[in-house]
């Protein structure tokens, strides 16, 4: 298909989104990520039955926590995309990239040693 998506996106592969825990998402932001999103299989189609539904609840919880500490829950999202749906994957990546760009950098970015305070030049 040769579809491209923004190079700001870094993919972390997991066997199932059910593996994603609150601490993993928190650490992403603590280490300076401007945004993060969890991509799971379509609801009802989890190979492990409820992995993506569990991930959805954990994402919701983490969003609230990020709001409470002033990082902003809108920087974290969950999307459900079929493994075969490349075009949709690229579209979501673009949408997230645009959304995070509009929100600006992670508010703690300037306080993390070795990281630039702006989005410019950040992978």
């Amino acid at each position: 298909m040769r579809i491209t998506y923004p190079d700001s996106i870094r993919i972390i592969r997991l066997p199932c989104t059910g593996k994603v825990d609150v601490i993993h998402m928190m650490k992403a932001f603590q280490r300076g990520a401007d945004g993060a999103y969890v991509v799971g299989c379509l609801e009802g189609e989890c190979h492990y039955l409820t992995g993506n539904l569990r991930a959805k609840k954990r994402v919701e919880y983490t969003k609230k926590l990020l709001d409470e500490i002033g990082i902003g829950g809108e920087r974290l999202e969950m999307h459900n995309i079929a493994a075969s749906d490349g075009p949709r994957f690229a579209q979501v990546a673009k949408e997230m990239h645009e959304k995070i760009k509009a929100l600006g950098p992670n508010p703690i970015r300037g306080a993390i040693p070795g990281q630039r305070p702006s989005l410019e030049g950040v992978a």
């Binding site: 609150v22 601490i23 928190m26 932001f29 603590q30 409470e68 703690i108 306080a111």
Partner: protein, 222 residues
Amino acid sequence: MIVAEKKPIDEIIGFVRDYRKILLVGCNECVTVCYAGGKKEVEILASALTMAFMKEGKELEVKEVTLERQCDHEYLEEIRNIIDEYDAAVSLACGVGVQFMAEKYFRTPVFPGVNTLFMGVTEERGVWAERCQGCGKCILGETAGICPISRCAKRLLNGPCGGSTKGKCEINKELDCAWQLIIDRLKELGRLEDYEELIPIKDWSTERAGGPRKVIREDLKQ
């Protein structure tokens, strides 16, 4: 187990706002099982506090420790060598652990990381319900193994009251009437005649009404 809930992060930030080095102490017992103050919750709290401080342009050094229990000297002793390095501690144990730590480490401010709720069971994943109030004189033998002290809103010893409708309590339609449960179980056990026995007025002096309680076992005491 003792059931607790995480405190709102705002409240914890308020406790530690003026400190720069804090010790977060989890507990491996009850609060781990009810997902309020175990190792995982300590990690999440440490991350959240670190980010909240960074956002305000302040530095925070957090040390995470999770002890086997916080209600016994031997486990709380494990932090003796490090506690003086920190300005304050947040204990994610139940109120018992928080107090025991505060008693033991008198010069270190100790704050609670959870709200301690009750003694209860895991009814299903993510659902905990009260089963015991520690009244000090168990009557479960007379009530078919169902406690009217902890499960009846009125703590009736000879129920049900007029508020019991279709097996539910008048204070909440989701709440089972404890006395309905008792009668149903007595029937199942073929002991319905026990229901005819009136339970006498309870001596509440063994409960909190008699002041803070203590158990001394001379055979074990050193």
